[in-house]
Symmetry: D3
Subunit: 284 residues, 6 copies
């Protein structure tokens, strides 16, 4: 993750302000005290967000030191220490909840993603995320998905185009919509078409889509359709990406064998639990 963007600092500040409001009322009880603490997990999982913890506390006070004991993407056990932190006690108290909430959420996503990625191991099929992300957290939740071993799909409506059912209905057909976009989109932007049946899939391939999102196709249908689409695509020598979505995670392996390139799923983001972490004071 690129931590350079000034926009990230503004986002973290807005989250700190959300919790601090007009100021921490307990601040007065912690004046001039230096505190040490560590973070511990109550359950096992995959860690995500270490550098964000540093950044959050240092936005409040640059003197806070954070020592990461686990790297992003690494496995941790229940009761394992994840990081140590030292600084003004009032700062530790002020940033604690915001930092914990973020990392609990992100590590929850990394952990849930990893569980599915493990199932796909050795199949050559990638697990990709979607745009179903919590408002305001897209960059970070997608980073967590990557920490779990998945790959990212587009980040927004601007960095790739996807024609979905509504677009096709409103624009009056796949072809019209596709051509209008192809003529105006930046040349490196891919155009993906979401299809509901095999006929649409073939039409989309013939038109020259860069990717086909095969929504809610049974694995056995894909098994026959995929080679057909690849052959159609090869006529235009384009490198089509075939993606299955709308699947039940239980069928992951069946889909993995169907010849597709990607399985996209929002489950690790919309159906995962936060990892239960605590920040505990440490005697010094």
């Amino acid at each position: 993750m690129d931590l350079h963007t000034p926009g990230l600092n503004r986002l973290l500040d807005s989250w700190l302000d959300e919790d601090l409001g007009r100021g921490d009322l307990t601040n007065i009880a912690l004046q001039e005290i230096t505190g040490s603490a560590y973070w511990v997990s109550r359950e096992k999982g995959i860690f995500c967000g270490g550098n964000l913890v540093k950044r959050i506390f240092q936005r409040l006070d640059p003197s806070v030191q954070v020592n990461l004991l686990v790297k992003d993407g690494e496995y941790f056990d229940a009761e394992q220490q994840l990081l140590k932190i030292k600084g003004p006690a009032a700062t530790l108290a002020a940033g604690e909840r915001t930092a914990l909430n973020l990392i609990m959420r992100l590590s929850g996503i990394a952990t849930a993603t990893n569980a599915l990625v493990q199932e796909l191991k050795g199949t050559g099929v990638h697990l990709a995320d979607t745009r179903k992300t919590t408002p305001g957290l897209r960059i970070l939740e997608k980073y967590a998905f990557r920490c779990g071993g998945g790959i990212n799909h587009r980040f927004g409506l601007d960095d790739a185009a996807m024609l979905k059912e509504n677009h096709i209905a409103w624009a009056g057909g796949i072809k019209t919509a596709f051509q209008a976009i192809r003529a105006t989109a930046p040349w490196p932007s891919k155009i993906i078409i979401e299809v509901e049946d095999s006929d649409q899939a073939e039409e989309a391939t013939r038109i020259g889509a860069d990717g086909i999102l095969l929504d809610a196709f049974p694995p056995e249908v894909l098994h026959n359709l995929v080679p057909k689409l690849r052959k159609l695509a090869s006529i235009r020598t384009n490198q089509i990406v075939l993606e299955a979505s709308g699947i039940d995670p239980i069928n992951l392996k069946a889909y993995a064998k169907s010849g597709i390139d990607l399985i996209s799923t929002s489950a690790p983001i919309t159906r995962s639990s936060w990892i239960d972490l605590s920040m505990l004071f440490e005697k010094t």
Copy 2:
């Protein structure tokens, strides 16, 4: 929920910008077209966020009309229509994902909260939320908790003070910390003390805490402790609020019988799934 704050508009704008980035690439295919659509749920649940849907689309274009078919806090069935929407097709496409993501998340929380609230029905014990909320969404997630039948705890570090384990350790004891805060906090601000054992609970009550957070006490311990604390509190004629936290939702009913006022839990926010909603075009 008070929708007046200008801050809410800025928040919604930032979420729209997150998805739109440098602009929706499909926009060009939808010029001058008016679209109609409806929202449908794939599963049953409790609805939350209708007026936010209106606001989101109208931030993009004030001419969009949203007709709510279900009110916030109401039950809906699987496959039920939740709202109808009409406006420029390019606007519907631009706001769709942001609006859906938000309402899927909030309705998921309302639904999960309601499941627990149903269990407490008739006990007189309230279910309260915590500060474990997604960064940036606190006001809205707490509103969803209320739509599910729960009540809200404090919104931030500034509208009530809570002395937790770390505060007590760093400040050198409950009493010192409590008195420093009492002397400087606004008079309407309550001070709550989180305690780990019965002795601490009694000390906190004697000092004059407005609320005691009894963390991870077994129900049978509470059964004896609660009357003792109420008696202690009555000497000072203060109206103490006794709250149990750190409990497994499975034991809800046992806790409800222990005499406490509140059970606080983050589970409907940290362990719930999003409700699966879709926006489908409508022929006009």
Copy 3:
């Protein structure tokens, strides 16, 4: 005062920008020069805002050093030095007016508050502020009120509810309004009711208000009413706070004897003068 909130930095920046506009035209004459200066007061008073001076200059240039000679809440004499400052002369010139304006205003409030607080000494009655504060300065003006020895009332419409004459008229009565708010407000939020006569005061107490704002009651009326309200409140075992407002500061002592808990007044904020401070260069 909790100086952690990122929002405070944004506020200070906006004030610096207000004075600097497109840049200080005298900046060119002060290039590469280091300056020393001290602040002196032209009149006696109570100081407020030392750490804000540091923060303001350091937002412009972190190398500026500020040495505080008087603490917040301390008395200073006419012609006394309050602080010393050293740094790039262009920075001292750029931040001077913004910093002085703020501290002159805040010290004026602290001084005016303290004059009233002195009168209440030994009575056990507290002086509280109101929401009549300069737009944009609420947190800081309320901090100044505290530096003068007063206590703070609620900070905004969200951290306690107050039913005033208009609410009661529009909502159709005290009871309806009170119950609607009690059902939705966070549990730690107090509800205060402003009343115009004794009957309203009794109704408000019976309903269970956490505080009663007795507006413009003569002290002799309060003398009889206060014990009656306390007795009513004790039936519900709630700890009612009785507050007198709308009083002429001349009558402070008479009110202090009436048995109330608080006197709230906006006078130190709406009717005080700024303390006259200057920043003078120092030969080095």
Copy 4:
């Protein structure tokens, strides 16, 4: 006052957010109710800010109607109605305090300014403000000063340059500083020099200053100095503006006779009280 700037809207929004915080807790009691109210003054004065009242309430809800009964700069009597307002009761409650606080402050300044301006009537000498204004309110407080009959001095460090004692000390003399600024400032920007004695005043005039700020000169000294300075200035054919500052308002008339052009004073801003206004509901 030019109400066009988008910056003004952002400022008003920030003030509304300051009072609303996470939302007005009484909002729930005022749903779907339309309210009417009027503003009345408890004392006489000069009105300032009518269009700001409109703008504030309409930022919350464009349907609010405000009917101004007194114009900016007009006199009003005690108990006079100033404006009528109608709209959703929840909006009236949400914006009331912010709007009142602002107008009470601004009308206080206009009233205090006017008292001094009346004393100068017929003398041809203008009363000008200074940069001693409340952080964040400069444009509005200076507008209030104008509503009271005064004229405005520069708005910031960028729209005219003023060399003050500190600048001269740090830059190593009036001449060096003046020439560096004259060479880089935009040609329409005036350069004003603050002087402490007659020698400095003459030097500043000879150098070609556009204005001389004569700080704390006794009126009788000015009586002799002013014609001398005008004569010196006429050699260069520049139109010098002579301004007295640091004066006790009691001596206004003596100063007015000394031949100066302007008297600048911060008193109406730093030493005025807010006008006491109320917003009262109206039966409909």
Copy 5:
């Protein structure tokens, strides 16, 4: 161009504030006057930005009417009227310069782009822009490039990756850098490699780059290299895009015959003049 993004409104507001500062001083002379005006060009060109003119004036006052007489991308003659505008005279004066500056700049780019695009007519080679754009105006300048008949390259460092000379030097070779990016970039993101000689071009093609930027290659070298690269790419069945850059616009036609897909150039943005437009009042 997608005008939906809230970010665009913030950008336009910031530009209006830049010119308005603390408010238009001439505003007072235009109170309550309605004005009509038209825009006329002093030279011929290609128009760009009509809807932005509407948006700019309507940010100041929604009642302003703008009637566009020329569409974006259309040719206009010297002395031709481009649009008519009607509204409060003070608003027309307040927004005039900001709107004109923007459209003069954008139409200058569209016109300069179009001159080059005309030369490529019939060759099948596209003219693409670069990231050399004025800070703050990227989306709009790239839109202008499109209005002139060009196509857009990537919009930022995030929507496609380009390995340039510095990256390759620092990362220690093309291959290492390419693989690290391929493993973490979203799957729809293309990776382009900028090369300095034929060997690098072949290496980049073999590695699987989606595009090769051939910087400063003479046309005759490209003539031989292009088929070789296409052949190499076809082995991997990827659809490589070959782009020439760093060329003198004089040689456009020679490059167009070399078999490449795109010529990218910053000249219409970095070396074009603004179109000279005026806004003239109209008698009504």
Copy 6:
């Protein structure tokens, strides 16, 4: 240029965010690498913006070191090194384009300004800029104009008033408009009147304008008119500034002899090319 304003930091941040978007995709390939680079110019010119380069990179990472080899306003040759930079390679890559784009633009303006200023050398006539500047870059483009040897005109609609053709038409004449503005503008603000013919010029002078903008007058007409206007102005003893605009740069010298004070032109801003600069890695 005064680099103190917090607003400048926000502007630079917004420009970095424009290029970085959701983060530099090549960032991953440059982790933990320190890079060194230098800037070189492909053509000769006048440098502008050295301290902005420092600031831009240090907003991303304060550890970046920038060593300026040429000062603002100095001449540089083709192929000359302008500055050296060292820091984390990922930061150098992240800030490169934004920094280069800005300095290429500003140095282009400084260079073009200087060419005209050289022609005026020895004439005593100054070259001034206008408000035709790129939206968002006014302060910086005007600084570049100054680096090229020109002087600045007003920065916005608020720091001097200019009555132009539209104002005069809408307000119903020069006199009405002038008097309304004179009565409300801050006293240090100059009022300039743009005139189309000699009669208007005389009227504007008689009224007391501080400056007259003589738009598109032939030099021979000015030759006679200028002494006449100066004589008229001397009656009021005001120091009038006579400015010629709307001139073809070819006639600069003829205008310089006409007796005017200033020639104002937008050409160095609206008709200049960017200087071609590159940032090249350096072996360490």
